[in-house]
Symmetry: C2
Subunit: 723 residues, 2 copies
């Protein structure tokens, strides 16, 4: 975990230095030390550049210095164009000369194994001891396109055309993939303001840069490529701040597959957290998960329009029936609604378009619009902007010839600007035939133009979801969070390494306001009979022992016990079977329990993820979880809103709403149970290894834990990450 005392402001020295020294600068044009100097000059870096090399006088007209100590000004940033073997002494030199930040390209550290890790730890210690912000090692460096700081050896990052609008920052755990994304974005008019390759994250972490960009006025969107997050708890907090500021964090997290996740672990030394939990963590925090690099580009271009969609209702305007159908398919597959336009709007539109066109959604202007009458593209818009049911309008083609001076284009832009409808243009990605001449003018006025290969419709769906989360955040409707729960003292129950007996687990749950079946543990036949009487028939009898978690297997459960005689019989049979099953088991006695009425059965629980720590889980249980994987997760602690989201996002939610003629169950009661176990998991994070309520029985009113299992950690050690 990074030192919280280090302010994000110190990253200024890395991204916005006034003075830069190049250690290992060279006049040899094949050397990194030359290329780096040249890159800064070509990039038009606005600060002072000090090449350092005791054997050289001058490089590309710049005076060369013998050492850092000789440099006339204080050095903000030192770029290491030196081998790994010299890096440590250079870093010491930087410390002695009060350098504020350094960039290390060199490989041969933690990515190579234990020896490399030791070397890296030494660098990290020197940097931290002297308050030096260190990027890398094993990275391709960074580019700040707003001040010409090109600090990289990657040829891909230099000599690219710069686009005017530069408000999207990009942070990457993979150098090569990051460079490809940077170029791809620039090729379609999206130049990142900052490109930062974090490499091994010895000192500066992925989250450090997110934090910096959240507070950076030059950044509107924070994007990144991630293989494994090292500080999830911090990222959760940062995501909240970013959401409140409407600065989306858009992250492509790779390693969805088993093989990909395996490779990611070896590639950047990330822990293999469950990708499924990443997915739900992103939903929980409002981080936009990019499925691929295209989403980073398309989402950014859509959000930079300055509008946020008001909902999912989408209308397509096309000049090709086939295109309209395909884009409608795409919209629905990503969860957007292609609405049936109401009669008034259809009637109005049909007056404006050719008779053989279609005023239904998709609106088909026919080939006439594409060939002879481009002005048709403006017509349906006049009615659509007045239809309150419409949120989004997608044009699948657009007149190619209209340039900034075209009165048609200006009319189109005016209508769009005066409307809160989210409007954009997407074209079929043909080389040389896809970019309308008016693109720059359109985009300047908040109407994105994105070719289909960048999948803007998928990104629109992501922006709609982002908008929903954002509005919930800014309206700040008060929501309960499990952090507000008062911690209950149950530590005496959580002995290291034990699996709690059901009666012990029930005590734990009851402490956290989770209802369990009425029960009492009996050591004698008479106690059992008395308890049954108090609880009321029918009852269930089960062995109560931490050492016998699989009670059915031990033949130590009797359901539907209906009389004193039956209780007495069952008591002895269970004690005997349990003793036979495991002669060494410590038997607490027989638990006599209320036989719960039938209800809908679900399961919920807590598990510990190697990346995220305690995670709350919810699902219908049985084959629904095991085979259909219909399950939802949230990282603890959760809010009531999170709990409700978890319940609603499983497919089986319809069962809870009362499928097949049954009444709906008490959704609120489930949410309270989830909040309860979240509070418990947070309070006893170091103790509780695993918790399962299976089943939780749901009724029209209330929910009762019918059985529960809690496993306590072996030793009260700190988990590797989280906490």
């Amino acid at each position: 975990m990074s030192d919280v005392n280090v302010s994000y402001k110190t990253i200024d020295s890395l991204l916005k230095p006034a003075t830069v020294a190049i250690l290992g600068a060279s006049a040899n044009k094949n050397k990194l030390g030359y290329l780096q100097v040249k890159a800064l000059l070509d990039g038009g870096f606005q600060g002072d550049i000090y090449p350092i090399n005791p054997k050289t006088k001058e490089i590309e007209g710049l005076q060369c210095y013998e050492s850092l100590a000789q440099v006339p000004k204080k050095v903000d940033l030192a770029i290491f164009c030196v081998s790994a073997s010299n890096a440590e002494s250079c870093l010491v030199d930087c410390a002695e000369n009060n350098v504020k930040a350094v960039i290390l390209f060199a490989s041969g550290y933690s990515e190579t194994g234990e020896e490399g890790m030791k070397k890296q730890k030494r660098l990290e210690k020197i940097a931290k001891d002297h308050g030096i912000r260190m990027l890398g090692p094993n990275c391709v460096g960074l580019v700040n396109t707003t001040n010409g700081l090109v600090s990289t050896f990657s040829p891909g990052l230099t000599a690219l055309p710069l686009n005017d609008k530069r408000e999207v920052g990009f942070i990457t755990q993979s150098g090569a993939f990051g460079v490809l994304t940077y170029i791809a974005a620039a090729q379609v008019g999206l130049t990142f303001n900052y490109f930062v390759s974090v490499g091994n994250e010895a000192e500066i972490k992925f989250s450090d840069l997110i934090e910096y960009m959240i507070h950076d006025p030059q950044t509107s969107i924070i994007s990144g490529y991630l293989e494994g997050e090292k500080e999830p708890e911090r990222l959760k907090k940062l995501a909240k701040t970013a959401l409140e500021k409407n600065k989306p964090i858009v992250i492509m997290k790779s390693g969805r597959s088993k093989a990909g996740s395996r490779a990611a672990v070896s590639h950047t030394g990330s822990l293999a957290g469950s990708d499924r939990i990443y997915d739900d963590f992103f939903k929980q925090t409002g981080i936009v998960r990019a499925d691929d690099y295209e989403d980073i580009i398309s989402f950014s271009k859509l959000h930079l329009s300055g509008k946020i969609p008001t909902g999912r209702n989408t209308v397509i305007v096309t000049s090709s029936g086939g295109r309209g159908i395909n884009e409608a398919d795409r919209c629905e597959s990503y969860g957007l609604n292609i609405i049936n336009l109401n009669e008034d709007t259809q009637a109005a539109v049909s007056k404006r378009i050719p008779s053989f066109g279609s005023a239904a959604n998709p609106i088909d202007l026919t080939a006439a619009a594409a060939v002879t009458n481009p002005e048709l593209f403006i017509e349906p818009l006049k009615d659509l902007v007045n239809d309150p049911e419409v949120d989004n309008i997608i044009f699948t083609e657009f007149p190619m010839e209209w340039d900034a001076d075209s009165s048609y284009l200006q009319e189109f832009i005016q209508i769009c600007k005066n409307s809160d409808k989210f409007i954009f243009i997407t074209t079929f990605p043909l080389e040389g035939m896809a970019i309308p001449r008016g693109t720059e003018e359109l985009e300047k006025n908040g109407i994105p133009v994105i070719t289909g290969d960048l999948n803007p419709i998928r990104s629109l769906a992501k922006l709609v979801a982002y908008g929903e989360k954002y509005r919930k955040t800014v309206t700040k409707s008060p929501t309960q969070t499990s952090e507000e729960w008062k911690k209950k003292d149950i530590s005496h129950l959580l002995s290291p390494g034990v699996t709690l007996s059901e009666s012990q687990a029930s005590v734990v749950l009851e402490n956290y306001d989770i209802k369990t079946a009425k029960k009492a543990v009996a050591n004698l036949e008479a106690e059992a009979v008395q308890s049954a009487k108090e609880i009321g028939y029918p009852v269930v009898l089960k062995i109560d022992s931490s050492d016998i978690p699989h009670k059915t297997e031990a033949n130590a459960v009797k359901l539907n016990v209906n009389s004193e005689v039956e209780v007495a019989e069952a008591f002895h049979e269970i004690m005997e079977n349990a003793a036979n099953y495991n002669p060494n088991a410590k038997l607490n006695g027989v638990s006599v329990q209320q036989m719960l009425p039938e209800g809908v059965e679900v399961i919920c629980g807590i598990s510990n993820d190697p990346v995220f720590g305690p995670v709350v889980m919810f699902g219908l249980g049985g084959v629904f979880v095991e085979i259909f994987e219909d399950i939802s997760f949230r990282v603890a602690p959760i809010t009531k809103e999170d709990a409700l989201d978890m319940i609603k996002e499983i497919k089986g939610y319809k069962v809870l709403q009362g499928a097949r003629g049954k009444a709906a169950v008490d959704i609120d009661a489930i949410a309270d149970v989830l909040l309860g176990i979240s509070a418990l998991a947070t309070d006893y994070e170091n103790e509780i290894k695993e918790l399962d309520i299976n089943p939780l029985i749901l009724y029209e009113n209330g929910a009762v834990a019918a059985d529960a299992m809690i496993v306590v950690n072996e030793l009260k050690t700190q988990p590797v990450i989280g906490g």
Copy 2:
């Protein structure tokens, strides 16, 4: 349905005419009649061209004729550059002059409503009466790139660079989308041999062209864009022939979504068949479903390599760790296996690549391969081709500089050619930086190079599935088909409009070898008691009446009846309740049935799809079908292979295999039931509207229909399509 007497060979006149007349040819350069003449000349058409126009002497150096009758040779193909109002008289003229084929571009027919439909029907009749093959109306025409026949007004289809290999035919129901696909394919080196826009399909149908291309020696792959198939039964047969010839049919079927399907119906007048059934029909027939136009291009390029993957085991070779992870994610998401390479292969590979690389899959050559040592790309291949566990090898980058003369490239090609491994290259789609110099040479030698935006990995997965289906077909392992079943005479049971009582439905099923619960219908108490005795206790009693399909609602079912007294009581109660529930119901009596032992419950049945006719359905039933939509379909008649595929492709198959400690059920018995209902549905296609076996109870040995419902069609009319 098209006339089966018309041979596909007559399409030769359309695609390979020796003589072409242009009706409505013009010297006016703005007119279609001029553009069409010019297109044929520019296309280098190899036959004779006869412009027809009584008022013009010459167009672009070609002699103009007053009328068709004046043309010195027999005209094979006439292209109509005339308005819709003149089309009919022109067609009559063609008939009189023995023209063999015509192309009609004009709109204003069935797509505009009833009046247009009548006009179209008249054209169709004239064409059919005179054996004229007619393409259109309402189409953009066709292009045959192998003989220069450019018969279209679409500017997009002319003046495109022609690539050498032209073996992929393309048929489209959408003109505009088809043109876009044609251009997109040509831009990446895939020129279609034939492009045919079928328009309204008045005479020539989509399937006619598929049949033609199946038999055309110049076509290796048949691709298309489809909104609604008009002859599914014919397509099913054609698909079988195509599969046997290893000529894949690759179709992008649009209208997956509700809105898209709605629009497709109005766009091309297709029937709205369930898209889900299209999906399963394609699986059944081995037709490759393209998810988008990219799949048409990528699948074709992969198949043109001449190899078919031997399986799903895939290895990725990369020079960027990040790229490797992303492509591994992609492979797994499409169902390919990124295998763990065995120790021997890993050891061998690791000797050949840099020490800081990775010999695990994905194999990471590191940036060294991309920058300084491109020859590294050849190294792992030497070991991978010898590993029998490897089916496919994907390179995510490739040396850009190697041209055809490079000895490295030639070495790479030689290794690939001597191996049956499926090998291809996919690069990150950056403009100007994605196409290696050696691409042409690689592709000539069976190694496709496809940029990532065309999603070649998805297409590889489709090619693997195609290969599996193809191998099953060519090995011709004998499989039972429901067509071989002997038709049973049950017509007396199928009175128009009725819903069969359970006992009647049982008789029907028993006739088709489907076991049902032992049962007898009793009209008197004594009969009921006697039947119960014969069947054996416990029994179930239910009312038997076609007029009371919802027996539980009528309170006319008693389960678990255990004695003579109980039978007598239940008999009277049921008769009474039924009479009260529906005083007008005809009561056959009370059905006394065997109480079946517990087993795994599934459902199966028959429904009638507006496009495909009788369709067999299978699923786990209940919420699994209603909420999880875990259900499979096949168009009747089915084979045993189809039945087994249906059972295995539902997610819940794991339940049938014995999830949660239970024994596996009798899969073969389920398949036999599906074959039985398929035979029944085929034999009585006009009678049976709907059939549901719910539940079918499965055991370790056998399957029994516990309840069944059959609805008979109102009148014995022919269904709209199919049969």
